[in-house]
Symmetry: C2
Subunit: 203 residues, 2 copies
């Protein structure tokens, strides 16, 4: 009833309705924990005595599978893989559109500037670009990367194999990778510094 009133007040906008409910002090009270649909594990891996760290969540359907040795080993392998292979995204779908567009642009320019490609028809250049984009995915997306313990399969295939083994839907949900000092490295990257210096000199 309170919800309905809030919604009318909010003219049907969900976010606004929740805000109105919170103002009336109802929101915190009504939040019940609710049944969690997914089971799984959160796991971490620390490398080189604290220089690189990975945190990840992998979901499955039952706690029984989550507690099993096979699933735990699988999650541990994934954490080690992420530590070594440095994926930036989970899957192709997670690559931001503008970043992909930029990669494509750079690949096109590189292909055009390459003397080997002089006089080649646009379809051939397009093939070259598709190849580079595919390589970009293999380098940056966890699911597309060759698995470090078996380079013949991708991590995506490894996940599919676990689905077959356990008979449950399995999903790598998210990961974070920290490299000690990596943000500060960027600042002292030669290229950026050089460009900065020149920009300063132009002023």
């Amino acid at each position: 009833m309170e919800c309905k009133r809030a919604l009318t007040e909010a003219e049907g906008v969900e976010e606004k309705a929740i805000e109105i409910l919170r103002k009336h002090g109802l929101a915190t009270a009504t939040k019940k924990s609710g049944r969690v649909a997914a089971e799984g594990l959160v796991n971490a891996y620390i490398h080189a005595g604290g220089k690189i760290g990975v945190l990840l969540e992998v979901n499955c359907e039952t706690d029984f599978v989550a507690r099993g040795e096979e699933f735990r080993g699988f999650v541990h392998d994934l954490a080690m893989h992420i530590t070594a292979a440095e994926p930036r995204f989970l899957s192709k779908e997670d690559v931001p559109a503008d970043l992909l567009e930029k990669e494509r642009e750079i690949a096109l320019e590189q292909a055009r500037l390459d003397p080997k490609n002089a006089g080649k028809p646009p379809q051939v250049l397009e093939k070259i670009i598709e190849g580079r984009v595919s390589k970009f995915y293999q380098e940056t997306c966890l699911m597309e990367q060759p698995f470090i313990k078996d380079q013949n399969i991708t991590v995506g295939t490894l996940v599919s194999q676990m689905v077959s083994k356990t008979g449950e839907n399995i999903r790598v949900r998210r990961f974070t990778r920290y490299k000690m000092g990596e943000g500060l490295e960027k600042r002292s990257s030669d290229l950026s510094a050089e460009v900065q210096d020149l920009l300063g000199g132009n002023k």
Copy 2:
């Protein structure tokens, strides 16, 4: 020289210049690792057999301090604190302006609707709101939270104490906290579901 040419071509815009350099295949070549200005540790903590996990990076000035037992204990305490206290931000400055504005608005409405505040001057209401905002910071910002092992000090104070002890600048740089299934919980939160149902019913 190549940089200068790229910058001219890019009309002085750094990002564009780097892009042009990358197109010419120079960017990857010039990237040297560069001296890292900061030392420190990346650490993780896994709670409840894989239900909650925390990853964090803490910086200090020398590897000597980073390898010391005291610093390691301090970083471990911080990881445990984050696991238990669920901070959402590092410090006050990291709270997005629109979120803060919304909290302030909600606090104002709550104060206005409270019969106890009827007839009180605006300055008094403002004081109440300031108090609520300050509480919001204490609940959500790591540096403002009372330290779980000593509620008399904030985490910010704990960091200052380590600065005194080690004689080095120490900074909690970043952290990530995963709770298994937390994104899926949201979906089944009663309030959101109720609002959604009503929205559906209105269509």
